[in-house]
Amino acid sequence: MTAHGTAYLVVYTITLLALARPLGVYIARVYEGRPCGLARVFGPAERLLYRLAGVDPSAEMTWRRYAAVVLAFNFAGFVALYALQRLQCALPGNPSHLPAVGPALSFNTAISFVTNTNWQNYSGETAMSHLTQTLGLTVQNFLSAATGMAVLVALIRGFARRTAATIGNFWADTVRGTLYVLLPLSLLVALALVSQGVVQTYSAPKRITLVQPLEIEPPRTDASGGTIHDTRGNPVTARVTVTGQTLAVGPVASQVAIKQLGTNGGGFFSVNSAHPFENPTPLSGFLEMIAILLIPAALCLTFGEMVGDRRQGWPLLAAMVVIFIGFAVVALTCEQRGNPLLRQLAADPAATLDHAGGNMEGKEVRFGPVASALWATATTAASNGSVNAMHDSLTPLGGLVPMVLIQFGEVIFGGVGSGLYGMLSFVIVAVFIAGLMVGRTPEYLGKKIQSFEMKMASLVILAPPACVLLGTAVAVATTAGRSGVLNPGAHGFSEILYAFSSAANNNGSAFAGLSGNTPFYNLGLGIAMVVGRFWTMVPILAIAGSLVAKRQTPLSAGTLPTHTPLFVVLLIGTVLLVAALTFLPALALGPIAEQLQMLAAAH
């Protein structure tokens, strides 16, 4: 890692932590219903929404009711988004006259946005109308993020309240999260991005004339779109002179802001934040990267604030930051070092003053290996999934970093809300084993961890890896799954493994090189996304319901302290061990085999 890489990582981490603290305190105020300073601006809208929906925001819900409402609300969101895609050709806000999206792809995309995954088997600029992007995708970007936070807050109430029966009101939590947290932050970020040149318009694509015409020889296609081959099997080509280009534009800044803040990740354009209209400058890149981890980091401190002991939030954040930095260092080092095989071709990948060096395949020149590798780390640590470089082109170990970060279950920052509640299920397991080791019935924040919590935490931790492994197994064992793979050898395996890891953990980024828009992957990944999202959410709410009814054991010298560096180490160990034990064999056949092959070939 060069000095530039180190400095970039340090500045990034410090900026993130500095912003996380005040935001964490602010979010706690929002959910506790205390004055947060924005009531004057958004209060009337909030009350209007409750009145329109006929909701009493102070009506408390049991965990079962809360879970039922979460599921119903998200199902409604799924239906609306599906319908919008299928009907977009008949609706306004479609200046490019895009056709309706196919049923399998609509299904996959609707699930993908409702589950906060934003896996994209389509190219935004050529598949989705402005109306679909704005009313469908962007709205779900807000609501899926607000849902995640609401479920987290319900769980926090489980820890904070004593011998109670209810864990809050989902409608109030969602409305408040959207109005007071996501909306103002998105506004700020969107304006900042527009200042950097990110597009924000509802006009049709712009047709421009090229400065220098271009001659190309594309293969000719027949009426059905298939390539025409000559008698020897080679494609028949025709010389064409290109004089103009279509530039896709649209309401980009608003969607990019929430896609980053809400750990959604679904770009307006197909190439996501590598596109110059989504992410034009190094500064916009830095801003967007901060936006990725900002809310998940802040929520750790919200947790400490809401359970009434600020010391309890920091160790969770510390565990995340330590793992994040560790993996970032690996990714940055690998990408800056580049591919040693290139050295045999007399290409020196070493960084010098006038060129960034390293592995530049699949990267934008304006970002270089450092900003690209750090983005890859951040976007997969959080369940964001937006990209500014192609993960498929990362070095094998550099590509292992995002894959493993996803396979941790998206708990290193993770999704807004979902990351922390996932982490808290690891805390439950860690506290359970550690509690036994000090000779007491395990407890966390004074709440006893018993078999019910254990059962539910196990479900939360087990569901995503089960989907990843089973999905990958089915894919590699069936023709339908194998036919999507474009790369040979271990790398092809990595692509499938990455796809299912990303879907089941609601990340949404992809190792390109896998043809995902097939019925098999649309359906398979769709199922993985649903299971990964809701199979974890419902048990989390069950834990909240069980904990909220318990009384709180007072602290004593016999209590396992959960705010110490030792506890951070224990938590990190638990997260690393669970992922390593589950995925090590699969990783050995993918990126690890690839890396060792590369090194063996270089010697």
């Binding site: 036994l436 054991t553 004593s556 209590t559 064999p585 699969a586 060792l596």
Partner: protein, 690 residues
């Protein structure tokens, strides 16, 4: 009459022999299915045996010898786990046998009416029912549990307690319970039956010692869920390796898919067999340690709860202080010579056979050389202590000498027309404040002064409480003394809090309040009036010398009737949990090394560079797999003694305990298997078995 079995050594050859037989009997799948992890291991063993049979018949996926070796060691894994459980049960079984021998067919002298003079007949003990009355006389074995309704007798309870000194049992009061199987040494008792046949204390004790009634405790269940979840994760991880391996072989174009035998071996290595195999042994051994400490717990749940206790309620007398108070000083009133006070106090105590009374006589002799006098010769009339007067003393030559508590003597002198001097009152207050008991001496209406009776705090109890504090346990002293005295003794003994002027009601209220605040409360008790509090407490240790009601209300009975035992009980409870936690950590940490052994072994043919992961430099892929499997089986045997003895508990606070156990069992669990697997591989190579 067999006396109680002497503590049996852990690895007694007879127990080991019996355990080996039991280990095979426990292979029964109906038994194994109760432990999901070991059940999976057994299924794997059976499955690989099937693969061996297939290989012998000529269609094997791997060499038959290799499959045989894997199968054999998988069976050993299951057997070793069974052995651990059988060993833990072994000691209890040996003791239960001895107890059962003492329960020969007994006969009861059934009485029609519950009095000695009543008519009766001889009946087998098994047909006696609750409420029936029977007579036992010197030499008889008491046929069933009961409550003495008439008589007093000395009873040999050594079959229960191992204590050879006989105990007194009499009607009324707190020493009225008798236990079936014990023997009357002198006199006679009329007893009313309090337990149906088969439900007696001896029956319960046998069942408990045998572990027959053992139910899994809440923490054990929660841990089993975690282990089952891990097993499912590993099952998925290993099962999906088969398609992954096929795909990779196809993609790489070299190597061959991983044999199912190896996957089965990998699965058994990864699932937490170490802790799962030892789990029930740990629980049984915990109960067994209680029994070795002469405490009978009614359930494993009670043992576990003991580890969680936050507050200990301890009776002052007998637990914190020695039973007897001793006179340590005479404080004469104004105008009274100390010697006169001593002489009068000595006279008042001559008839007092209590240890306090005797200590006054001793002190008078030590300080002023006042000798004992013969009361018959003096012609004195004794005035014994009564609940009404709350004083004792004697009448001699017209003098009416009394000693008693301040308020009792105050009333007495006023009745005599005297008054209680203020200076004596202030001395008495001071004495009380200092934790001693003031005993006022009066001669007729004249108050002479105060004798200081001091509670003697047991040696070493202070450091014991300091230990408890560092364990996070609060101690509360319960006493009938006034708050001043209580506070002083509490300070001297180093308890955290006290409940003065305690009554059964205030005790019960205190327990409820503590529990409302989320605390787990432990207490000891022996009297019938302790029963409500015992029933309310989370851990209630009843004294064996206590009443039947107290024993019924408690969830543990201390056969030695030693209230300080509660502290030991807490430590045993903690040890059980710590052993489980530490071995779980060890078991999971072990898996890292097993991956490094097996993954390169199974994929090196497909991706040769993966050989770089063979950090242990194991000889061949086959020996790598076998070594890991052997290590996984042997580690269970190696840890049996630790599981039975328990991880040592130190009263150092949670943070320090965690640091230590993480280091030993976490880090140790990571490193140990690297060394172990390598050693086994070297040995296999040396023996040319690879």
């Amino acid at each position: 009459m067999p006396s109680r079995v002497q503590p049996v050594k852990l690895l007694e050859p007879a127990i080991v022999r019996r355990a080996v037989g039991d280990a095979f009997r426990k292979l029964d799948p109906r038994h194994q299915v109760r432990n999901p992890v070991m059940f999976v291991a057994e299924v794997c063993a059976a499955f690989s045996t099937g693969l061996f049979v297939q290989a012998v018949s000529g269609q094997g996926e791997a060499p038959a010898g290799f499959i045989l070796a894997v199968s054999a060691w998988l069976w050993f894994t299951v057997l070793f786990a069974n052995l651990a459980e059988a060993m833990a049960e072994g000691r209890g079984k040996a003791q239960a046998d001895a107890l059962r021998r003492s329960r020969q067919q007994l006969f009861a002298k059934y009485l029609f009416e519950p009095s000695r003079g009543s008519q009766g007949s001889l009946m087998p003990a098994s047909s006696m029912h609750v409420g029936d009355a029977f007579l036992v006389e010197a030499g008889d074995v008491i046929p069933c549990d009961g409550e003495v309704v008439e008589g007093i007798a000395s009873v040999d309870e050594s079959v229960m307690t191992g204590e050879s000194a006989p105990v007194i049992r009499e009607s009324g009061g707190d020493r009225s319970a008798v236990t079936g199987g014990t023997r009357v040494l002198s006199d006679w008792l009329v007893v009313r039956v309090t337990a149906e046949p088969g439900q007696t204390f001896l029956d319960r004790m046998i069942a408990m010692v045998e572990g027959a009634r053992r139910q899994r405790t809440p923490n054990e269940i929660a841990l089993s869920i975690l282990l089952a979840a891990l097993t499912i994760a590993f099952l998925l991880g290993v099962a999906t390796l088969l398609p992954f391996s096929h795909y990779s072989v196809h993609a790489a174009g070299t190597g061959s898919p991983v044999p199912v035998t190896v996957l089965v071996a990998l699965l058994v290595c990864l699932i937490p067999t170490t802790i799962a195999g030892l789990l029930s042994a740990i629980g049984i051994a915990g109960m067994d340690r209680m029994i070795q400490a002469n405490v009978i717990a009614t359930s494993g749940r009670a043992v576990e709860a003991a580890g969680d206790v936050d507050v200990l309620l301890l009776d002052k007398t007998g637990t914190i202080t020695l039973g007897n108070r001793q006179a340590t000083a005479f404080h004469a009133g104004a105008g009274v010579r100390e010697e006169d006070l001593a002489a009068t106090a000595q006279l008042a105590s001559l008839a007092d056979e209590t240890p306090e009374g005797r200590s006054i006589v001793v002190l008078a002799k030590e300080r002023f050389g006042i000798r004992g006098r013969n009361m018959q010769a003096l012609g004195a009339t004794l005035v014994p202590f009564t609940a009404q007067s709350r004083m004792s003393g004697l009448d001699l030559d017209g003098r009416r000498i009394r000693k008693g508590a301040v308020d009792a003597v105050d009333r007495w002198v006023r009745e005599q027309g005297g008054s209680f001097p203020e200076d004596v009152r202030s001395v008495a207050d001071r004495v009380a404040r200092e934790g001693a008991t003031p005993l006022v001496v009066a001669d007729g209406p004249r108050v002479l002064g105060v004798v200081r009776l001091k509670d003697v705090v047991k040696g070493g109890i202070r450091s014991r409480f300091a230990e408890l504090r560092s364990m996070g346990i609060t101690t509360v002293m319960v006493t009938g003394d006034n708050p001043l005295t209580a506070a002083a003794i509490a300070a001297e003994a180093g308890v955290d809090d006290f409940l003065a002027e305690a009554t059964p009601e205030t005790k019960l209220r205190l327990i409820r309040e503590l529990q409302e605040g989320g605390r787990l409360v432990a207490m000891t008790g022996d009297g019938t009036n302790d029963a409500p509090a015992l029933a309310q407490a989370d851990v209630a240790l009843a004294m064996n010398s206590g009443t039947q009601a107290a024993k019924e209300a408690g969830n543990m009975v201390d056969l030695d009737s030693n209230p300080t035992k509660l502290i030991e009980v807490v430590e045993i409870g903690k040890q059980v949990l710590m052993t489980r936690g530490s071995l779980t950590t060890f078991s999971i940490a072990n898996d890292v090394a097993k991956y490094f052994a097996i993954i390169p072994a199974i994929f090196v043919a497909t991706y040769p560079p993966l050989g770089a992961l063979n950090v242990m430099d194991l000889a061949t892929p086959a020996s790598a797999v076998i070594s890991a499997v052997i290590f996984n089986a042997l580690i269970i045997v190696a840890l049996i003694p630790l599981a039975l003895r328990g991880v040592p508990y130190r009263p150092v606070g949670a943070a320090a305990l965690l640091r230590r156990n993480l280091l030993v069992y976490g880090l140790g669990g990571l490193i140990a298997p690297f060394a172990g697997i390598k050693a086994i591989d070297l040995l296999l190579e040396l023996l040319r078995l690879t």
